[in-house]
């Protein structure tokens, strides 16, 4: 099991083969080996949420998940969120409409987190949105617009 692992990863509904060292995280596999750079590397230590992806529908941090651990699970990244015909996901549209970003670096993680937050039903109030989005930091401080976008997307999908 040393050396290189040949993994088959299910990413955005596609089966992708990747050969990586055991220590390679899902985040690095996505960005450096599979050309999926939408998932961002912020702190790389589980503190900022920029690398948030979904595994089997649940939001997790790709920086603290080994690529090997994700084998056999359904991985969704920001690239897999929009409709195949190009129509944006309602949360993506809400972020645009509410200008819920400034530099945009945390945005893919914010959106992946928000999609799961809405699905979990943790959007009953602005305070609940803030609590359940607290794992996603925005150094530009666009928080008030992010909360507004999440609230509107939650209302639109309920």
């Amino acid at each position: 099991m040393t050396g290189t692992l040949n993994l088959k990863l299910d990413i955005n509904g596609e089966s992708r083969d990747v050969a990586v060292e055991p220590r390679v995280t899902l985040l690095d596999a996505l960005r450096e080996h599979l050309g999926l750079t939408g998932t961002k590397k912020g702190c790389d230590q589980g503190q900022c949420g920029a690398c948030t992806v979904h595994i089997d529908g649940q939001r997790v941090l790709a920086c603290l998940t080994l690529a090997a651990q994700a084998e056999g699970r359904a991985i969704t990244t920001i690239e897999g969120l929009a409709d195949p015909n190009g129509a944006l996901h309602p949360v993506q549209s809400a972020f645009l409409e509410h200008d819920a970003f400034q530099c945009g670096y945390c945005t893919p993680g914010q959106i992946m987190s928000a999609v799961a937050c809405i699905r979990e039903g943790h959007t009953k109030s602005d305070n609940e949105i803030r609590e359940y989005m607290s794992g996603n930091l925005c150094r530009c401080g666009a928080y008030s617009h992010i909360v507004a976008a999440v609230r509107e997307a939650a209302e639109a999908t309920s």
Binding site: M1, V60, T65
Partner: protein, 327 residues
Amino acid sequence: MRNFSYLRAQSADEARTASALAGHMVLAGGTTLLDLAKCGIAEPETVVDITHLSGLDHIEINDTMASIGALARMSAVADHPAIRAAFPAVAESLALAASAQIRNMATIGGNLLQRTRCSYFRDAAVFSACNKRHPGSGCAAIGGVTRNHAVLGTSKACIASYPGDLAVALVAFDAIVHLGDRQVPADDFFLLPENTPEHEHAFERGEIITSVTIPASPAARHSTYLKVRDRQSYEFAAASAAVGLEFEPDGKTVRDIRIALGGVASKPWRVRTIETALIGKVLEPALVRKAALLCMEGAVDHGANHYKIDLAPRVVTRAVLQLGGLS
């Protein structure tokens, strides 16, 4: 991060056998092990991935107890309706910990084994002295910036605080940690640093946590976890309290009360002195305020963490009065 080999355990026995080997470390949710590997603190030669094992992620509850599998995710336990009803302090301790993403990853077994957030422990590149990392090397925290360090249960070798929330609730309600067939009370599972801060758990190589059981009780059913911290969310406790309360039929005399503290001690800190002081008494604010001061008996501060000695009794007081309907 140093490279390692990857072994996907096919059975609990294979995981036990592999984890007993030199350089082998068990990998579950990864939120502690991979973080510390990136810091250069954990240096596994082989990680033994147990997340594909079946039968270890149950959450079962009956009239006498709850049993939670070691691989149950924090979020699954925090959101479980029966746990929320019968053990609200346990559910709240999990819901108030970490972030939604980390709670979806981290397991109950791994949660118990999380390491201290002492910044001197975590920064090996700058601070070579850490008795937890290298026994005998000293403690860089003593005389350093100590705002987050423990005031209870410390030693001359180590003043690191235990950072977790769940274990505080488990200790309050007499939970049992199951290591296969061996059972250890949660309070005994966590060790004081004394002269061997590198030994944190009553845990031998080759053992894995299989489940945690929590006895049901009226106090557990009427309980809360109060967590006070520097920011409102996604932060470790400055001071926290797991409290459970049962009244006599008169609705004001204390029949049973459980109190444990987080964020202030080197391990989850049960405070039986306060419990003893309140059992059999009519609960009223002045009595609670006075009894709460007992939680800091023997406390030793290291400068910047002095505030915890004032804060912790207030956290206990607020939690008890809230539960007792007196605030």
